[in-house]
């Protein structure tokens, strides 16, 4: 048994969000940061520069012209978008490893799906900017990666428990590990200085008691997580997907047609964003 802090501490020892990603995330919150500062940070990692330019020029952004420098990318996409791309790049390498009982690669596909769904819901249903929804989506299950790294067997036992119907994922994790991936993920995201709304979304995305305000980033992530989990991209293959909290169920019921359209359009959006999450990039 261990607590979230010790998992985070031991996880940080082995794998941490690269320096560049951390600084990029912080720059977003700095009022006096400019594209030059951003470029200064990013260009420390030439591989990252190349990958970012490829992503920026991918269909996901649909830019009319080709962008050839990071500072131009900031001009066309905004600092938040680039921050997200840096986070994607930093996280991608953490989600490696296929396993029958717990699959990090499935988790990566799941996270990418949640990120894109969350961005779609934010924009299409609520008319909100999708940057933070995307970031929260891609990172909401990072606690599972830390747990897998530090206590792989305990996590697998918890996954087995879940498949056997011994409780929710959170209950099973608590039973085997003494903590859960919401708590671990929250600590990590705090360490990475992510926005408060993103922290809350990570913290509460498995909380059935929570009364989610609608719209809110947390509500969007719970909904997107539910939808993605129903679509087979389940980090714990074969595990049942818990029902939506009642307030969200009411919301969906009232906007069925809208969600129908989102589900219909998702494959096209995923294809456009393929460059982002495709592991053989």
């Amino acid at each position: 048994m261990m607590d979230a802090k010790s998992i985070v501490r031991r996880f940080s020892d082995t794998k941490t969000l690269p320096h560049v990603a951390l600084r990029a995330a912080r720059l977003v919150n700095e009022e006096r940061a400019t594209m030059h500062d951003f470029e200064e940070v990013i260009k420390l990692d030439p591989v990252l520069v190349a990958r970012l330019l490829r992503l920026v020029n991918s269909p996901y952004f649909g830019l009319a012209r080709k962008v050839e420098s990071i500072s131009k990318a900031v001009v066309f996409c905004g600092v938040k978008q680039l921050r997200n791309l840096v986070a994607v790049e930093a996280l991608r390498s953490m989600f490696k490893g296929e396993d029958r009982r717990f699959s990090r690669e499935q988790l990566w596909l799941h996270s990418a799906t949640v990120a894109i769904l969350a961005e779609m819901i934010a924009k299409r249903i609520f008319g909100l900017a999708g940057d933070e929804a995307f970031l929260a989506g891609i990172i909401h299950d990072v606690g599972l990666v830390a747990e897998d790294q530090v206590a792989g067997e305990e996590l697998r036992l918890a996954a087995d428990d879940l498949r056997l119907g011994k409780g929710s994922l959170i209950e099973c994790e608590r039973g085997r590990l003494g903590t859960d991936h919401c708590e671990v993920g929250l600590l990590l995201a705090q360490e990475w200085k992510l926005p408060t709304e993103v922290l809350k979304a990570i913290q509460f995305h498995h909380d059935p008691e929570k009364k989610f305000a609608i719209p809110s980033l947390s509500a969007i992530i719970v909904l997107a997580d539910f939808m993605a989990s129903k679509m087979q991209h389940n980090p714990v293959p074969g595990a049942p997907v818990p029902a939506l909290p009642p307030s969200l169920a009411r919301h969906v019921k009232g906007m069925m047609v809208n969600y129908k359209i989102i589900v219909r359009d998702l494959p096209a959006e995923m294809a456009k964003a393929r460059e982002l999450y495709h592991s053989d990039g």
Binding site: T34, G78, G127, A129, K230, Q232, L244, K260, I261
Partner: protein, 595 residues
């Protein structure tokens, strides 16, 4: 990629009856007033509008009849209808829902009989069947609209953010510029301060040298004076040689002290020229005469050539010009062993347009050892000779050329040198001088006075006011030797007291003294002379019909010292160490006027 469809994802939330309800509502919205009943095979009965029931026989018959007949695409004739109650009943198959629809419309007329009525009903049915599709299109349109709003907002934010960055970059650039300026200003200030400090140090050094020279001159005064007195006493051959050596060495030391003092004054910016009319030929003769003996002893020639067309009476600080020529000739003679030295003065081109100034070139050429090319410029630097060994071989402070260079520059010229090692050197300079009218010798009191060959025989009583006992003793001995009676006083107060009681024909007044200095004492004497009541109390002043001659004595040879003596009312001025001949001449001149 996404294997699960919407129906699977939201299976729990999907309401299966909803599309049928949507259809019925849409239909009753278009054609209000009637009643609708939809029969599904599962037995569900959905209603909208006026509630009606058919008897089960008719319902079964109609349902079976319409089962195979869909709603036609276009109305192609009267629609089958039945008169039921106060209206008409129409029946359709709805394959989209696998259901049968009964539609009762009130009224006398069968709407379906007329082509227009039939078309209305058929089109209404088609329209209602597409209600769900339309709802989706509306939702789709709304989603597009929201996305466009988001994009517009993001666009605005991007533009704002880019503008913000532009402003920040601009501010940063201005900040860099300001920092740069501040840094430059700081460094400039530092340099200026350092420069001021250096100048201050240099000035202190020069002042120190000036004071130092003064301190050196006071004992020199005693050495030279007493050596001269010693020479006048009966001496044997050995003593005479020692005495001569002391006098030569002290004269040389005094010359060097004077050089240092001059340089210090020049560098402290305190040396000022005092131009006065002078005779060029006399100057040239005077300066060459000094080297007559040395030239003769070395067996070399010393010749002077003056351009005969030049005016002889000129205006300049002849003392300083004399000093420059003395230095140049001195070097030339010193470093020439064979051949000779030539001093040449000629007109150097035409003077400034319209001006009366005459450009004169002074040339001192020798056939001496010459100066290596690499050392040519260095010879004008202080404490430098052509090479270090010359100091040891030829002596000298190495200040002569440095002083000459500065003096020539002060006179508005510049000194040049050409030299070839082993063949000789040529120093030359050009200065522009104004011609002067002929002046009577007695109108130039500061011109060199012919040496007194014999002491004034007529006598005269002289009061010597001097605080330093050695100098007092020396001066009174010198005065006595010149044949005058001398009484001494130690300061201005004592001096005045002596004047009250005794008659004196002249006062030699030291300038710096404790209690009352020479300047103050002189002021007092001149004031007393102008006060008929007071002067009677002073024996020295009472009966005089002209001011009492007062000669200032000071070790400071500075021009301002001399000027302050005259300003206080002194008649003449002597610098210490006292030159016996100068004193003799001054005393003779001032006492000659006495009755």
């Amino acid at each position: 990629m996404v294997d699960s469809g919407f129906d699977q994802i939201f299976a729990d939330l999907i309401d299966e009856l909803r599309p049928r309800e949507l259809f019925l509502r849409a239909l009753s919205d278009i054609v209000p007033g009637g009643g609708l009943l939809l029969l599904s095979p599962g037995g569900e009965r959905l209603r909208e509008g006026v509630v009606f029931e058919l008897d089960s026989e008719l319902e079964e018959e109609l349902a079976a009849a319409v089962a195979a007949v869909a709603v036609p695409r276009q109305p192609s004739g009267p629609l089958p209808a039945r008169r039921v109650a106060a209206g008409w009943l129409y029946a359709f198959a709805v394959p989209e829902f696998n259901a049968a629809l009964f539609w009762w419309l009130p009224g006398k007329d069968d709407l379906g009989r007329e082509p227009a009525g039939a078309a209305l009903l058929v089109h209404a049915l088609h329209y209602a069947l597409r209600a769900e599709e339309r709802e989706e299109e509306v939702a789709q349109e709304e989603q597009y609209r929201r996305q466009i709003e988001v994009l517009k907002r993001q666009h605005g934010e991007l533009i704002e953010d880019n503008y913000r960055q532009y402003r920040i970059n601009q501010e940063r650039e201005q900040g860099y510029a300001r920092n740069l300026e501040r840094e430059i200003a700081r460094q400039t200030a530092e340099l200026r301060e350092a420069n001021a400090r250096l100048e201050e140090i240099s000035r202190h050094k020069s002042e120190f040298l000036a004071n130092m020279s003064h301190e050196l001159r006071t004992p020199m005064n005693a050495i030279i004076g007493f050596a001269e007195l010693l020479a006048d006493t009966p001496l044997n051959g050995e003593q005479d040689e020692y005495c001569r050596t002391i006098r030569q060495a002290s004269a040389s030391l005094l010359a060097q002290i004077n050089d240092i003092l001059d340089l210090a004054k020049i560098e402290a910016g305190k040396l000022e020229l005092s131009p006065a009319p002078f005779n060029l030929d006399e100057l040239l003769a005077g300066v060459t005469a000094i080297f007559a003996l040395a030239v003769k002893a070395k067996g070399i020639d010393l010749s002077v050539h003056r351009d005969p067309d030049l005016p002889v009476q000129l205006l300049a600080d002849s003392h300083r010009l004399h000093q420059v020529l003395l230095n140049l000739l001195g070097n030339a003679v010193k470093f020439t062993e064979r051949g000779g030295v030539e001093l040449r003065v000629e007109r150097a081109g035409v003077g400034a347009a319209g001006g009366s100034l005459i450009p004169l070139r002074f040339v001192v050429r020798d056939s001496g050892i010459g100066i290596p090319a690499s050392r040519l410029q260095a010879v004008f630097e202080k404490f430098t000779q052509a090479d270090g060994s010359t100091t040891r071989r030829f002596g000298g402070t190495g200040l002569g050329l440095a002083i000459s260079k500065q003096l020539v520059e002060l006179m508005g010229g510049s000194i040049r040198v050409e030299s070839r090692e082993g063949l000789g050197s040529t120093f030359s300079f050009v200065i522009s001088l104004a011609p002067a009218a002929q002046v009577a010798p007695d109108k130039a009191p500061r011109q060199p006075v012919p040496a007194a060959t014999a002491p004034f025989p007529g006598g005269g009583r002289i009061l010597l006011v001097e605080d330093n006992p050695v100098n007092r003793r020396l001066a009174s001995l010198l005065i006595g030797k010149l044949g005058y009676a001398v009484v001494t006083a130690v300061d201005g107060v004592e001096g005045l007291k002596a004047m009250r009681e005794n008659r004196f024909d002249l006062v030699l007044m030291d300038v710096q003294m404790p209690r009352m200095d020479g300047i103050t004492a002189t002021h007092r004497i001149r004031a007393l002379e102008n006060d008929p009541a007071a002067r009677g109390q002073y024996v020295s002043l009472a009966d005089r019909c002209s001011p009492l001659p007062i000669v200032g004595l000071t070790a400071h040879a500075r021009k301002e010292d001399e000027e302050s003596c005259y300003a206080a009312g002194m008649s003449a001025f002597l610098s210490k160490p006292i030159d016996r001949n100068k004193m003799a001449a001054i005393l003779e001149r001032l006492l000659a006027g006495q009755g």
